[in-house]
Subunit: 195 residues, 2 copies
DNA sequence: CATCTTATACTGATCGTTCTATCTATTCCA
DNA sequence: TGGAATAGATAGAACGATCAGTATAAGATG
């Protein structure tokens, strides 16, 4: 990919993260990236598509970073713990400013599919991934329901970590997740009929 | 309060809820409210203050609505259940479009205190309220930690309910909350030394 | 030669905000 | 009861700034 296009995405990601999508104008991205106006419009039909590209990039980066943190050979619980730990480390990052997908959803709603689709896909992918981990210990239906709860915990933790500038919410979220998982496993194993 | 001011807040609330804060211009609020330009600027120094007033109003409305749903004489668990049920009913509302406080935080971050303070105050109030309920059954420190988890669950459920257009996340969130509370109560009562 | 990037000027629209001048309703005093 | 004073609301023009996007032509790189 063109280095100019790369830099546009990188600078746009930084600016959008710090100030939001609407408040950051094309002009600012251009001057901060040191790129000419027409170069942007040669690579992207419009600002919407730049936003979309930023979210796409972010999606792949995050998934790659997450997968690198999760040892596929370890137990399901260990893998889930790694996901929550990844979030805590992320929250503690100085540049942490919430989840870009959530903020895109908050600013644009679900009316701009080009933008919101990535955000929703991210949620679905995470839920499915965690669901797969849980299915090694739990019946499918239970695992799916539990995964949706884990997503709620991760999303809620991300929101509150930003609002309170407090990375430790991830620890409490993981504590809650562990309690729920343990309870469900205990219920299932003590009552094999549920399998 | 002046009826014109009232209507400005009402119309602005509706438009902000449906489209976000940045995309809705002053002109649109004025024309939709049938109010003259200068009338707005006589009541509010600027758009920021109108947003702030909208959030303030929302804060008081929500707290009043919540308090009306929570029977003060019933048990702590019943009160908490009522809070989660209130959220589920809210999610199922046709005009539900996420939490306006969260969306204000997402759009403006914590750099505009006039706007973000209300959002953060709402979170703190909710946490303290739920913490007080839990303190009737649990030691203070445990109750505080648990309340922060309940807030995570409520915030996460609100986010996901909007993203997936699915009000039932509230039910799963409450199931998780119940599990965590039960476990904590069992732990405390079986080990009085923790009191 | 061809492709990419550059700079600059420009479009038409919209942004939040201010100004002016007129209109309407209430209030207060004679 | 009548008339002036006051306050609030009105319409509409205009402000300078910024918005996303386009046009054009020269410069760079291979």
């Amino acid at each position: 990919m063109s280095p100019k296009k790369e830099q546009l995405i990188a600078v746009a990601t930084d600016l959008f993260s710090r100030h939001g999508f609407h408040p950051v104008g094309v002009d600012r991205i251009l001057s901060e990236a040191g790129v000419a106006r027409m170069t942007l419009y040669n690579h992207f039909p419009g600002k919407d598509d730049l936003i979309s590209a930023v979210l796409d990039r972010r999606y792949h980066d995050i998934m790659a970073s997450l997968r690198a943190c999760v040892e596929p050979t370890s137990s399901a619980r260990e893998q889930l713990r790694a996901i929550f730990a990844w979030h805590e480390a992320w929250f503690a990052t100085p540049e942490f400013s919430g989840c870009l997908f959530e903020r895109a959803l908050a600013e644009f709603g679900t009316d701009y599919p080009k933008i919101s689709d990535v955000a929703i896909q991210y949620k679905k992918t995470m839920t499915a991934w965690m669901g797969d981990m849980l299915k090694t210990h739990l019946p499918e239906q239970t695992a799916t329901r539990l995964a949706s709860i884990l997503l709620i915990l991760l999303d809620g933790a991300t929101i509150d970590a930003r609002a309170f500038h407090d990375p430790t919410v991830a620890t409490r979220a993981w504590g809650a997740a562990e309690a729920i998982i343990e309870r469900e496993i205990a219920l299932t194993s003590s009552n094999p009929a549920r399998r």
